[in-house]
Symmetry: C2
Subunit: 209 residues, 2 copies
Amino acid sequence: MRVAVIGTGSAGRALADGFRRIGHDVVTGTRDPEETRGRPEWAEHGDSLVALADAGTGADLVVNATGGMVSLDALAEVDLVGKVLLDVANPLDFSAGFPPTLSVKDTDSLAEQIQRAHPEARVVKALNTVNGAVMVDPARLGAETTIFVAGDDEGARGVVRTLLGELGWSDVVEFTSLDAARGLEMWLPLWVRLMGTLGTADFNLKLIR
Amino acid sequence: MRVAVIGTGSAGRALADGFRRIGHDVVTGTRDPEETRGRPEWAEHGDSLVALADAGTGADLVVNATGGMVSLDALAEVDLVGKVLLDVANPLDFSAGFPPTLSVKDTDSLAEQIQRAHPEARVVKALNTVNGAVMVDPARLGAETTIFVAGDDEGARGVVRTLLGELGWSDVVEFTSLDAARGLEMWLPLWVRLMGTLGTADFNLKLIR
């Protein structure tokens, strides 16, 4: 599968590496590929960097791994027509410091904002509840944990479900409506406080039922 | 310990029964004890019902188990001076139907509103992340799960921690600041959607770290 990851931060890099490891053809979309290519963390995969306007071309899956506050601006430049858009971002607003607040919540979500801006994309929210390292390597936690999927489009959820299985996720809880992303994004205020209290971002929840 | 539970709903009843089972002396505060006494679910414990104005008298611990939208009004009638106030409520607003939204969130919380209204109370947020049956019987889930405690007052957190241990909670994550209640209350939008998708309220998360 050809995967276009949008975003060059730690989550985007972890996802690109993870998708490569399980055999996918990965490009990373960024505003200025030439500038990004000069950064030390891109020494190995500089060739995979493409401009946002080219990132969607030929992609079977586009992944939004940008910061939630800039996602809409970045995705505005990407061709998402007919594509599955996996949104792993969170609308974290650090403008008042730590812990961040959410720039959208409760009656709306970043995932729904993206869907409204791109009505012909098939948006699925998933993986936003864990950090980049856990997204692509759930086994690193030493016990099975739970991951969530939310989306209106059954076929798009299926594409993401298959990908999650390839990454090693075995306990997947699926919501058949994208507005469940409100709940998934509102987990973050607890997540960021847990990161502070536990002293690590390497954690996740296992749903016991 | 003398415990005053405020609220006669399912969570309040479960807590009163649970605290009795582990040997505490429990009264339940309600707006109109005479009226409540006439309800079938109070046939057995009608004698324990007291008016809100009397509920705090002699209590070592007061538990807010009212609906989050009416908590401030109900607690305004309770003497909380110097008392540990365990807040298990959530600010769920059902005025627009299901799923509910939160009437306060992100930059404030119900627990902090209660603390501001009762500066001489020692407010601790805990148990709001599970339903009443699980609050008092975590073993019913068949595996250890995690419960959270948040509060500014170390002694008050200690009282709650002891009580949680008596109820059977062994994995307790503690936040030393009451504003972590923002995170704990913002878990609810995911909780209510999980209840819908799983078809049960008998679930909880186990934190894997």
